[in-house]
């Protein structure tokens, strides 16, 4: 915060390690917190996020579950109703569809249906996105579907700071929070302040300011979008990059504020266009910033196909910096 004094100590770390440290800290801070999911204990998690936690905290708090998303997500919701603070890990968003009934019909509704008597303070973490060649049943970005549902919060940490800080805030929330971690971010390295801790889970953040076009994105496409902004800067186009961070609720003020300054917007979303989160963001811009626009709002999204397995086809189906640059240029008539 302050410009005075020595720079705070930082450490080199990874997104995966930041998530692990966030879980460790939560387990140490509150004995009601426990982690459960498939292969999270002995195996250490399919993305190795929970490696070592079983040895440190024991099987009571690091619980391997049967291969039934409906059962263990439901158990997590029940534990939350019973006063615990469960962190439920689902291997990928594709598998979470087996637990949709628990998430959409129970977690999201009980506060409302009990007339405010029952909170469900559960946190559900899951991996999302493509890029690891695990094909169409493990690679989709369905967080936009969840963002449709009132009663749950949806967040997407894209940076190491957010990976480290969003979990604590989500656990403090009295209502269900779903955290979407993009699979291509786990290996990302970066510096993290030794003092890094809880961060808000409501605000979008401008990761790069610019005056000519707003690039609105989140999660796994943030760094591709920043790369595109670098390329645009070489052409004299100053792109503003907005990291949405929270997908439900959307930070309308930041989105509308940015677009009202730049008068142009490109939405970058690894989900599909049709009925997707990008469509919702466009609608909000139409509702609140129509008169500020100088060009139709553009989108760079995944091809409308099940995610291909071959690497070249997978990469072709995903949003890439070159396509973002082209879309941004298009809004400027170049």
């Amino acid at each position: 915060m302050s410009a005075e004094g020595p720079a705070p100590a930082t450490m080199r770390t990874t997104y995966r390690e930041a998530v692990r440290q966030a879980i460790r800290e939560a387990l140490l801070a509150d004995e009601r917190v426990f982690l459960m999911g498939e292969d999270i204990g002995r195996y250490g998690g399919c993305y190795a996020v929970s490696k070592g936690l079983l040895a440190e905290f024991g099987p009571e708090r690091i619980r391997d579950t049967p291969l039934s998303e409906g059962a263990y997500v439901g158990a997590g919701i029940g534990a939350a109703l019973g006063g615990m603070r469960p962190i439920v890990e689902v291997m990928t968003v594709n598998f979470s569809l087996l637990a949709l009934d628990q998430i959409v019909n129970n977690a999201a509704t009980l506060l409302h249906m009990s007339g405010g008597q029952f909170n469900v303070p559960v946190v559900i973490r899951m991996a999302t996105g493509a890029g690891r060649q695990v094909a169409a049943q493990h690679s989709h970005s369905l967080e936009g579907w969840y963002a449709h549902i009132p009663g749950i919060k949806i967040v997407a940490p894209a940076t190491i700071e957010d990976a480290r800080g969003m979990l604590a805030t989500a656990l403090r929330d009295p209502n269900p929070v779903l955290i979407f971690e993009h699979v291509m971010l786990y290996n990302m390295e970066g510096d993290l302040a030794a003092t890094a801790g809880a961060v808000d889970i409501e605000k979008a953040v401008i990761r790069r300011p610019g005056r000519d076009v707003s690039l609105l994105t989140y999660g796994g496409t943030l760094f591709k979008t920043l790369e595109a902004a670098d390329a645009l800067a070489k052409e004299g186009i100053q792109a503003e990059v907005v990291d949405l961070r929270s997908l439900r609720p959307l930070d309308e003020a930041t989105i509308v504020g940015s677009v009202s300054r730049t008068r142009r917007a490109v939405i970058v979303d690894e989900g599909w266009k049709t009925g997707g989160l990008s469509a919702e963001i466009m609608a909000r811009i139409m509702e609140h910033a129509f008169w500020e626009l100088d060009a139709p709002v553009a989108r760079v999204c995944s091809a409308e196909i099940p995610m291909p397995y071959p690497r070249h086809l997978e990469q072709a189906a995903l949003p890439q910096p070159a396509a973002i640059v082209a879309a941004a240029r298009g809004t400027l008539g170049r």
Binding site: F290, L293, D294, A295, T331, L332, G333
Partner: protein, 390 residues
């Protein structure tokens, strides 16, 4: 040359404020014309491009003489309606009625045959409207050649520096104009007169309370409260709001009361405050300030002179007790407010000192009768008992 009042027969072009080839937008001031009421800014009713001017400054022409050709997007080419280019501006010919250019082309008018509509971004449209620029006439630099905000910013150049001193008021000429209009009114209009004393306690108390919380520049004058009361009352009495022409009475759908403004050194003009019934008191106050300043500077706009649908005259605190007005043709009524003064008044069976104001109506008997006129005055009185609703 537009008619800026029933009494105007000719006008002298003082200067053009737009050059041929420049885009013009509905409401833009494009020329200044010297009349008996001073220099009037002429507004344009078409959006398009000023194709050619037909008059040179200094020429005096009758009302109805074409002054310039404006080509509208989708309209017929302006040249189709042009007289031979060599024809000099008619020095003094028979007054013409302004008429639509030659063969009316209804298809072109609705724009169907007009070719592709130029793309103008929402942000550009908004700015163009605020700056009075015709965005459709600009060359766009946005996607697909669309006009974007930056294009409008470039086009909306800063207002030109003050040009040569413009013609101002000629009080002698104005006196002649008033003489002509008032003589015609008394010759042609069968006036009837009504008057009604109104207890102004409610209005004056309310005004005092409102103004107590305001800085002097933001305070409301009684005149705007009266204006609003008349405008709202007119909604139920259309026979006092409009114009009497050769073929009878034409009620006006909009309410644009002309406000009599006295000019220092003598003279009088009653320019319109547009849509007074829809304006808040603060908006009316701002409009009145603006109008008074421009009236005294001799810079009124053409629409303000030919738009008034009724006249309201308010004598103010130093005026006489009542005013029996003379209708300004082709209007059909004038409402007058005398000076408020403390007078004995019977309220609840007791005699009390109350601020009274005499409200009068001069009506055109060709259009309305005294019975309706009385109801109209009572409606104004009723409105003034509930100033907070104005």
């Amino acid at each position: 040359m537009p008619s800026l009042g029933a009494d105007m027969e000719t006008g002298t072009l003082v200067e053009w404020l737009k050059n041929p080839g420049e885009p013009v937008h509905r409401g833009d001031v494009i020329a200044v014309v010297e009349t008996q009421k001073g220099a009037i800014e002429i507004e344009v009713f078409e959006t398009g491009v000023l194709d050619r001017v037909l008059l040179t400054p200094g020429v005096k022409v009758p009302v109805g003489t074409p002054m310039a050709l404006i080509s509208t997007p989708g309209g017929p080419p302006a040249t189709a309606a042009a007289p031979p280019p060599a024809a000099p501006a008619p020095a003094l010919v028979q007054p013409l009625r302004p008429s639509p250019p030659v063969a009316p082309a209804p298809i072109a008018r609705v724009g169907v045959a007009a070719g592709p509509r130029p793309h103008v971004s929402p942000a550009a449209r908004k700015l163009a409207e605020a700056r009075g620029v015709s965005a459709a006439a600009l060359t766009g630099t946005g996607p697909g050649g669309a006009v974007v905000r930056a294009d409008v910013e470039r086009a909306a150049a800063p207002p030109p520096a003050e040009g040569p001193k413009r013609a101002g008021l000629d009080l002698g000429e104005m006196r002649k104009a008033i003489a002509a209009a008032m003589a015609r009114s008394k010759r042609e209009i069968p006036h009837y007169y009504l008057s009604q004393p109104v207890d102004m306690s409610a209005t004056l108390d309310w005004l005092k309370a409102v103004n107590a919380a305001r800085q002097p520049p933001e305070r409301l004058l009684l005149a705007v409260v009266l204006l609003k009361a008349v405008a709202l009352a007119l909604e139920d009495f259309p026979e006092f709001n409009g114009f009497y022409r050769d073929d009878g009475f034409h009620p006006s759908e909009t309410i644009h009361p002309g406000t009599a403004i006295a000019i220092r050194g003598g003279g009088l003009v009653a320019p319109a405050i547009h849509d007074a019934d829809e304006k808040t008191l603060d908006e009316l106050m701002a409009a009145l300030h603006d109008l008074v300043a421009r009236t005294r500077a001799g810079r009124l706009r053409s629409s303000e002179l030919f738009d008034p649908t009724i006249t309201v005259t308010s004598l103010g605190e130093r005026g006489a007790e009542s005013v029996l007005g003379v209708i300004y043709p082709p209007q059909v009524a004038i409402v007058g407010f005398g000076a408020p003064a403390l007078r004995p008044w019977v309220a609840g069976g007791r005699i009390e000192a109350r601020p009274l104001m005499t409200v009068t109506l001069a009506g055109d008997h060709r259009v309305s009768d005294g019975h309706r006129g009385a109801l109209f005055l009572l409606e104004i009185e009723r409105r003034l008992q509930h100033p907070e609703d104005l």
